[in-house]
């Protein structure tokens, strides 16, 4: 199971009194279309757990980084066939232009081969790049470092 906490999307949970809880989440990308689904899941689960009042707040600052994905989260991504991200680049100061394809040490989540090639920096969702394994030839998603 991959949780919102494992993804680093869940930024805080504050129980205010017996039946009131405030939850803070942050979007992975500005246009993340899953925010409403996450909010609905949180409200349903927390209401089911006995909270009468569930407040879901959006936190924009600091911006989400893949460095917040926990070791458990990385293991769950890999188990689901999604290559977990490496360390995120610094996002302070001027951002250098990169004309060559991003070089990453990505192993195939299917067969564990290190022989993989980048197909596109944009994948099935905003947060993933498309890769292909040169060994087993299977395509797979890689969570982009941001």
């Amino acid at each position: 199971m991959l949780t919102l906490a494992d993804l680093g999307v869940l930024r805080g949970v504050d129980v205010v009194g017996d039946s009131h809880v405030v939850v803070e989440i942050t979007p992975t990308y500005s246009g993340c279309p899953a925010m409403a689904a996450m909010r609905d899941d949180l409200v349903r689960e927390l209401t089911g757990a006995g909270f009468d009042r569930v407040e879901v707040r959006v936190s924009l600052d600091p911006a989400w980084t893949t460095d917040w994905i926990t070791p458990d989260g990385r293991a769950a991504l890999a188990a689901a066939g999604i290559s977990p991200p490496g360390p995120a680049p610094s996002s302070t100061g001027p951002i250098p232009l990169t004309l060559l394809p991003t070089a990453r040490q990505v192993r195939c989540p299917q067969c564990d081969s290190p022989a993989t090639e980048l197909v596109s920096e944009f994948g099935s969702t905003a947060c993933k790049a498309q890769y292909r394994c040169s060994c087993c030839l299977e395509p797979f998603d890689h969570v982009k470092e941001i």
């Binding site: 879901v56 936190s59 600052d61």
Partner: protein, 312 residues
């Protein structure tokens, strides 16, 4: 090898219909996340003129919205599946930025939000997107021109994101918490957009005679709109003066330096084409747009305007 995770049969995600059993009717033409800034500190910093902040956020939001819509028109039309997905993702990032920026503008000064019929569930950022006329949009004209071929999309995304990234690198230190946060997040996204377009720019320039000639034609066609990106509108000057915004003229040098790197790698000379004049000196930031924006908005807005109380 790791074993696959098995979900339990009672897992609610197993049923696509479970979510339909509750009454969750919401505004039909947006997402149902009522307030994208819920929980964000939207207090206006001391000494900041709220209408100036709103007008500035509106300009940035309109750039993102109009550019997003044009790029989204590529969805299902790109030359390859990978580029279809890439352009759709770029459009999605820009749409997310637009939503936050328009919501910020509305929160800073409610008087800019068009009045809707009583009972309309449209949130303020959607009222701004769907219920304003072309002359009320403040986007730069580069964002609105009609799409051409893939080379044109490459050049447009390159020029837009080189400029935008240079501005937003500075905007990260805005005194307005929301703009600073939007920019801090946005630069990560824009860096991907810029690099994607820059790589295609070099590839097309160094590809076949056909790809190079198309690229050069696209660059010549869009180049007249490049200088406008660095004009300082009075609203931008005022926003920069109070520390919430960035005067685009101040980032021209760094943006040109990045663009020159791409041109050099592609072995493409800087075009010698004059800038496109405004109308009586007025350009996109003044609400002066070409006919294509009106056509684009007619398509984008017509359904929401026909059903301002639309729920589903």
């Amino acid at each position: 090898m790791t074993e696959h995770v098995h979900t339990s049969p009672e897992d609610e995600h197993e049923s696509a219909y479970s979510g339909l059993l509750v009454n969750d009717a919401h505004w039909a033409f947006g997402t149902d996340f009522e307030d994208p800034l819920a929980g964000v500190d939207t207090t206006i910093p001391e000494g900041i003129d709220a209408p100036t902040l709103a007008a500035y956020a509106l300009m940035l939001g309109d750039d993102s919205l109009v550019m997003s819509h044009r790029i989204a028109e590529w969805t299902s039309n790109a030359p390859e599946l990978e580029d279809d997905i890439a352009l759709s993702n770029i459009a999605l990032d820009l749409l997310g930025q637009a939503r936050l920026l328009l919501a910020r503008a509305a929160k800073a000064d409610e008087s800019i939000v068009p009045a809707l019929p009583d009972g309309s569930p449209a949130p303020p950022e959607d009222a701004l997107a769907f219920f304003r006329e072309a002359h009320e949009f403040r986007n730069v004209r580069l964002a609105e021109v009609v799409n051409g071929d893939f080379a044109e999309a490459t050049v447009r995304v390159l020029l837009f994101s080189v400029w935008r990234l240079a501005v937003w690198e500075q905007l990260r230190t805005s005194r307005d918490h929301v703009l600073a946060a939007v920019a801090a997040k946005g630069v990560k996204e824009l860096a991907y957009h810029r690099d994607y377009a820059a790589r295609w720019f070099v590839t097309l320039a160094q590809g076949t005679d056909e790809s190079r000639s198309r690229l050069l034609a696209a660059l010549d066609a869009l180049w007249p709109l490049w200088p406008e990106l660095f004009d300082t509108h009075p609203v931008e000057a005022a926003a920069a003066g109070s520390g919430v915004g960035v005067d685009p003229a101040t980032v021209r040098e760094s943006a040109e330096a990045v663009l020159d790197q791409v041109l050099a790698a592609a072995d493409v000379p800087r075009p010698e084409v004059a800038r496109r004049a405004g109308v009586l000196g007025r350009t996109g930031r003044d609400g002066m747009h070409g006919e294509p924006l009106s056509r684009m908005l007619a398509e984008m807005q017509s359904v929401a305007r026909a059903h301002p109380k639309g729920l589903w």
